[in-house]
């Protein structure tokens, strides 16, 4: 979500609870070598259901996904976040997330926004007909129907999302400290290199 504080658009009113990462991206797609292209396989089992929100043209390309409790539980596969990014999702709103998923989501520029169940229920209802706006600056979710829900977010994560900073870029800003650590620890290169083939 590089450098943008407002995400505005339709939201998938998904609402399901305990959505595990197998549902987000089935194991059969883990042998890929790139982050791109996973979106077409996202929610494959849900998409097999007639009338599912993901195949409804109304929501095509929606940047927001609204889900139930414990979103992203199960396997730690980062492919789940990659699949959502590839679908164009930039915010997931749910009453709770698995820790690993919210970390993976954040690392890939997706905001995992926690709101109480009542707020999520209301958004699920409104999202069927209206767009939603997620503002990371004011930490609020609003709708054209005058709804306004505020959320909290780890300040570091929020800043990264707002500024479009990636964690690696931030760490590289500590280059001097890393170089100083290496210089003070001359023994890092302990081992004798094994002569290695490259075939």
């Amino acid at each position: 979500m590089s450098g943008r504080e407002r995400i505005e658009g339709r939201a998938y009113p998904f609402g399901r609870r305990n959505v595990d990462t197998d549902v987000i991206i089935p194991a059969a797609h883990l042998k890929t070598i790139t982050r791109a292209g996973l979106g077409q396989h996202a929610f494959e089992t849900v998409r097999a259901e007639p009338g599912n929100v993901f195949d409804d043209p109304v929501y095509a390309g929606a940047p927001v996904l609204i889900a139930g409790d414990n979103f992203g539980c199960g396997s730690s596969r980062e492919h789940a976040a990659w699949a959502l990014v590839d679908m164009g999702v930039r915010v997931v709103i749910a009453p709770s997330f698995s820790d690993i998923f919210s970390g993976n989501a954040f690392k890939n520029g997706i905001a995992a926004v926690v709101l109480p169940q009542a707020a999520v229920d209301r958004l699920l209802e409104v999202a069927c007909a209206q767009p939603v706006t997620v503002d990371l600056e004011t930490m609020s979710v609003t709708t054209p129907l005058q709804d306004r829900f505020v959320f909290e977010m780890d300040p570091f994560r929020r800043e990264c999302l707002l500024k479009g900073l990636d964690e690696i870029g931030l760490t590289l800003a500590s280059e001097a400290a890393i170089a100083a650590y290496e210089a003070a620890t001359p023994s890092l290169n302990w081992g004798r290199p094994l002569s290695l083939s490259t075939a």
Binding site: I33, I168, T171, S174, I178, R192
Partner: protein, 478 residues
């Protein structure tokens, strides 16, 4: 934690802090990074997209293991044989491209040193005490056997380490698992770690780094410690540590990538200061008596579903916790087992001796001791021995173990992860049962619908020659 008394974990952590943030998060220096073909392609892709380099290729080592077929890799004409599965071939080809482009030291698929990352690291001396070591793989905990703070990371973290040689981390809580007493006849480190997981549960170590202490661990070989540390993650702990001692030093000295000469002397002196100080405090403590442990097997689909081989399949109704009751019902339905069935009456169709938990030379020797002069039972459809590395394979062949196995009816394969997770062609067919020395008995882990019973190499060998789960103590006289 008092200012002067620190645990082994705290000492390694403190020695690696590059920067400390206000919220307690630390930028931690990473001394060693192991890379394999499954969790690295997107990390290299990210580096490429951002125009970044690998900061310290000299502290990085790549080796393919998860996807490689365990059948012959080189044809009669000396040419490398192609990998049939296009996705597996693609992951291997991507690794080969990436290590060449980024200048990462690489052990190729047909190199004599190739093997499972967690077998290769220790045996080459790449893994060292007092280091921080990471790999995009949850069983990285294994390296803690040598006193290395080692843990699995996700692909974004792999990219972070490649680019910066650091990770942003919060300190973990510490748990001491103390086991005193001696393991009985026929009881191995695998049985002990299964007993520990059975006791504290698959989530019992979540948020903790475990330190294994007590006589049973001090007396244990390095290979046994590797088995124990490896499965720390199955108890929920990201890392498991053993204090480096004389056994550790003896194991490492002279290994190809281990330090030598003055470096060695200086490092040993430092390593001797690492063990937990008297008076240091752990956040949690668990104790077990080694003498009470029997050879163990699992009955369900979590590594915590442990029962002595002399026991029976539990009745789900016997669990107090309703969630546990429900999980046990589901497990037994998946495993095709009825409550009350004696474990020794459970027939098996597949045997897998391998994986980063139990594929080192001691494991193969223990299995060969049971197999010698016996045959794989007629009911067993496939019995695989997959050495953990090329070096293990050659050592076993030099000792004649391969012949003991093949004469008994086992298949002797090339090194890799193999049937541990069935990413390569080695799979257990749906509904069939496998006695396995690996670390996960999850639903579908060894293939869709496959039923896994975890156990030690000696116990898997006993199952192979019996055609059912068996007590190794009945086969080998004390």
């Amino acid at each position: 934690m008092s200012a002067t008394s620190r645990t082994l974990y705290e000492k390694i952590w403190d020695a690696h802090v590059v920067e400390k943030r206000d919220d307690g998060t630390c930028l931690i220096y990473i001394d060693r990074h192991l890379v394999h073909e499954v969790t690295s392609p997107q990390a290299f892709e990210g580096l490429r997209a951002a125009g970044r380099k690998v900061r310290r290729p000299d502290l990085t080592l790549a080796v393919p293991d998860h996807n490689l077929p365990t059948t012959a890799r080189v044809g009669a004409d000396g040419q490398r044989l192609p990998i049939a599965d296009p996705a597996s071939a693609g992951q291997l080809a991507a690794l080969e491209r990436n290590v060449a482009e980024f200048g990462v030291p690489y052990i190729g698929a047909t190199d004599a040193h190739q093997g499972i990352v967690h077998v290769v690291g220790p045996e080459l001396g790449f893994t060292l005490p007092g280091t921080t070591l990471v790999c995009g793989d949850s069983h990285t905990a294994a390296h803690g056997a040598l006193g290395s703070l080692a843990f699995g990371i996700g692909t974004s973290e792999v990219e972070h380490v490649l680019a910066t040689q650091t990770l942003l981390l919060k300190p973990s809580k510490t748990m001491e698992v103390r086991v005193d007493g001696a393991l009985g006849f026929g009881v191995t480190p695998k049985d002990l770690i299964l007993a520990i997981i059975g006791k504290i549960g698959a989530a019992g170590g979540t948020g903790y780094v475990i330190e294994y202490s007590g006589v049973a661990f001090r007396e244990m070989s390095i290979e046994g410690r590797l088995t124990v540390a490896n499965m720390s993650i199955e108890a929920g702990a990201r890392s498991g540590l053993f204090a480096p001692d004389e056994k550790t030093f003896a194991y490492l000295q002279g290994r190809p990538m281990a330090p030598a000469g003055e470096d060695w002397e200086r490092l040993v002196a430092w390593w001797k200061t690492l063990p937990t100080d008297d008076g240091a405090v752990f956040d949690a403590s668990v104790t077990l008596d080694a003498g009470t442990i029997a050879p163990n097997v699992t009955w369900g689909t979590s590594p915590e579903d442990v029962v002595p081989i002399t026991g029976a399949v539990p009745d789900p109704e016997s669990f107090d916790d309703p969630a546990k009751r429900e999980a046990a019902r589901k497990s037994l339905a998946y495993m095709g087992l009825a409550p009350g069935t004696a474990m020794r009456d459970v027939p098996v169709e597949h045997i897998f001796i391998g994986s980063c938990t139990n594929s080192r030379i001691e494991d193969l020797r223990a299995a060969a001791d049971v197999v010698r002069g016996r045959r794989v039972s007629g009911g067993v459809r496939q019995a695989l021995i997959v050495p953990g590395s090329g070096l293990v394979k050659r050592q076993a062949e030099a000792e004649g173990l391969d012949r003991i196995f093949t004469e008994a009816g086992f298949e002797w394969r090339e090194p890799g992860c193999s049937m541990c997770l069935a990413m390569n062609p080695d799979k257990v067919p749906a509904g069939e049962r496998c006695a396995s020395t690996s670390n996960r008995n999850f639903v579908g882990r060894q293939g869709p619908g496959a039923r896994t019973h975890l156990m030690s190499p000696a116990m898997a060998a006993a199952a192979a020659v019996s055609g059912r789960l068996a007590d190794v103590r009945d086969l080998v006289p004390a």
